[in-house]
Amino acid sequence: MAFNRPLLRTSYEQDAAIFPTYTQKGAMVAFGVFLVLMGLGAPYISAIPEFFLGPTWINPITNMLPLAISALGINILVGVTGQVSLGHAFFMGVGAYTAVALGGSGDEWQACVPFHEEIGLLEERGQCGLGLPIWVWLPFSGAVAAAFGIFVSPAAMKVRGLYLAIVTVGLVFIGLHLGRMFPEYAGDFESGRKWPSLDFRLWKEETPLIEFSEDGKWFGLIHLSEEQKQYFLLMALLGGFIILAKNLVRSRTGRALQAIRDRDIAAEVMGVPEFEYKRLGFAISSFYAGIGGALWGSYLGRRSPVDWSLFLSVDFIAILLIGGAGTIAGTMLGAVFVELTPEIVKHRTDWLAEQIDASNIFTPVANFLLTTGESGDFGPINIGTVAPGWTMSVFQWNFVIYGVLIVIFLIFEPLGLFGIWIKIRNYWKRWPFSY
């Protein structure tokens, strides 16, 4: 390791390594330890997320993890293969409903024969499912979504760019309608249905082998709350999928996909079969989407068909563009940023609302920004229970912030957060020179 020449590579393995320097390896290990300690609720360390997200910080972070798995998928399709897709929510939905069909609470397949006239009552909807354990439904949810991806992929040969984006928008709407057509699986269109829990069972036995839905001791060793268990499970799964995705991108397959992104005709001339690799890109991307969708539904416990809407797809495009398309680290940064920023804004607004009565230095700021919605009390953010007027709640302001952030990032930093990181890194690498 040549200390003074950080870009010197002496072998191909070194060039393709995930973490080429000891500094990066050390930083990754430290970060991993940090995440574990954070999950265990270690003092000082867990104070960091608590500052941003409040005492229930583990919920928004755990909620982000399945979405990050799906985001890895959209990175492979849009960032690596270069096929623009707004249909990611559809593939997530496919995975999620596969999980429901296989792992759902119902115990008899007979109850699922789709005669809609007979499934009139709300309570009888969304009862279908075989009740199989997680090790069956999780791989299947990925596989079925991948099959749908393969089925859709010929469209990417027919049309390119924006036309493909519109076609995949169509997929999302067809998916929403399927949710309406099959209430025995999807439940009521608005209120949805229950998802199978994350509990690990060998088969359909009463007490799970490893449980994720109750507080308690794991194997009699360590006492964890329900949230902590889910956090660790999903974090471990995300870690595994990150390694999988990273290895895919730096392998022969990944290079072929990137060749197609950079120019598909040129790739074909060089002997990269265009259709096969586009199909593969769709399949892998949908696989990730399906796994992410199934885990997300299972973590939240209850989802409705309207949750797999176009806006979920747009979320992923935003994650990709804000984080940095084509890079795994960028995708993860984007997922953290896009999914946690609204929570941070919400938590800090709640905190600001408390400052009104505290009469300290923040009180004038709070008085300026917040309103209870009653007449005579002005401010852009409505924290009251008064019906919406011209001021909006934090929830709605979050959408505005989100939209504006997408625009600002694309205009000023097209490479996203990862681009900012590269700029900072290069600055220090070259310091004190500017070139």
Binding site: Y163, I166, V169, R263, A387, F399, V407
Partner: protein
């Protein structure tokens, strides 16, 4: 399947057929208006305007603010053309207000073009499209919040009233929609014959060459966005008239999704073709309305609201036959 066609022939009386045809033309008119907005913006600036949903709804919101609230918020003066409290405007006054609302929508389009689109000229098409997605997300809460929970009235003078032609009931709004779309379509076609329109076509063909010929490309961009936004807003206002599903108001549920339903139209017609927008709108609306009318006895099998996905199915089928639409320019690929 054969059974379905037999049913199609038997179910409808003549009056049903006339009504269904008229309904498809009316819905087609709405689609044509919004599709024209898409096409003009795409032709001139190569941006697929995903913000059309929020922008068109904002235009309709301006209309309700003008006519129901009697003036814009935060401004010291009211709208002198608003009808008195509890009354509906006369037809002339209503259309004057529509024009003001369209002008406001055009202004909104200008602002957005200047702030968000102009700095992105020359960037990849997808990046530009995603910028418009961001705009859509940012504007949408303002629309939804202003609509509150119940729809805001558009104050259409003729309400839901209709004429009777024999057995067929012909809502006045449908006729108005068709007339407005015809005027707008003819106006756009004529616009492309004027000097400015020719300049826009030149910009669409090659921005740099157009600039070298002395065309102010920035101004063409601005005009395209103003026109596109105003046309989309007109579509949303027309869709707010009574027998259309929002029922004489701007709806929180139906209006935000309206522009997304037009995406199949522009794929069918071709993203950059005015004629394509017109034919595409009419074809898609006819398919949607006829499916909604004549397949309704299978509602329980097809799922309620199945007619809203008919456009997407037509679009997917169309892609297998003609990927770049009826009148679209095929992408030229080079190595």
């Amino acid at each position: 399947m054969i059974n379905a066609f037999l049913q199609l022939a038997q179910v409808g009386t003549g009056a049903t057929l006339v009504q269904t045809l008229l309904k498809s033309f009316a819905l087609g008119s709405v689609y044509v208006l919004i599709a024209l907005g898409f096409v003009i913006i795409f032709k001139a600036t190569q941006v697929l305007n995903f913000a059309a949903g929020a922008l068109s709804m904002a235009g309709a919101m301006f209309m309700t603010i003008l006519i129901s609230d009697g003036g814009l918020p935060l401004l010291p003066f009211g709208n002198p053309l608003a009808p008195a409290e509890g009354e509906t405007a006369s037809v002339v006054l209503f259309f004057v207000n529509v024009l003001i609302a369209l002008a406001l929508a055009a202004l909104l389009g200008l602002v957005i073009e200047r702030l968000a689109i102009r700095p992105m000229v020359g960037q990849p098409l997808f990046a530009m499209a995603v910028i418009t997605l961001g705009i859509e997300i940012a504007i949408r809460p303002f629309n939804l919040d202003a609509t509150a929970l119940e729809g805001r009235r558009l104050g259409v003078p003729w309400g839901a009233s209709s004429w009777n032609w024999g057995d067929a009931v012909v809502p006045k709004s449908y006729i108005v929609a068709v007339i407005i779309a015809a005027i707008a379509g003819a106006g756009v076609l004529l616009f492309f014959r004027t000097k400015l329109g020719v300049a826009m076509r030149a910009v669409a063909f090659d921005q740099e060459a157009a600039m070298a010929q002395g065309i102010n490309v920035g101004r063409v961009f601005a005009i395209a966005w103003a026109m596109g936004t105003a046309l989309a807003a007109l579509g949303a206002i027309v869709y707010g008239m009574a027998p259309f599903p929002p029922g004489g108001s701007v709806s929180q549920e139906i209006h935000p999704l309206l522009a997304l339903r037009v995406l199949p139209v522009i794929v069918l017609g071709g993203l950059d073709s005015v004629a394509g927008a017109i034919y595409g709108g009419l074809i898609i609306a006819t398919a949607e309305v006829f499916a909604g009318q004549y397949l309704s006895q299978w509602n329980s099998t097809l799922g309620s609201g199945y007619s809203t996905i008919v456009p997407y199915l037509v679009m997917l089928f169309m892609l297998l036959v003609k990927p770049y639409g009826l009148f679209g320019t095929p992408e030229i690929r080079r190595v």
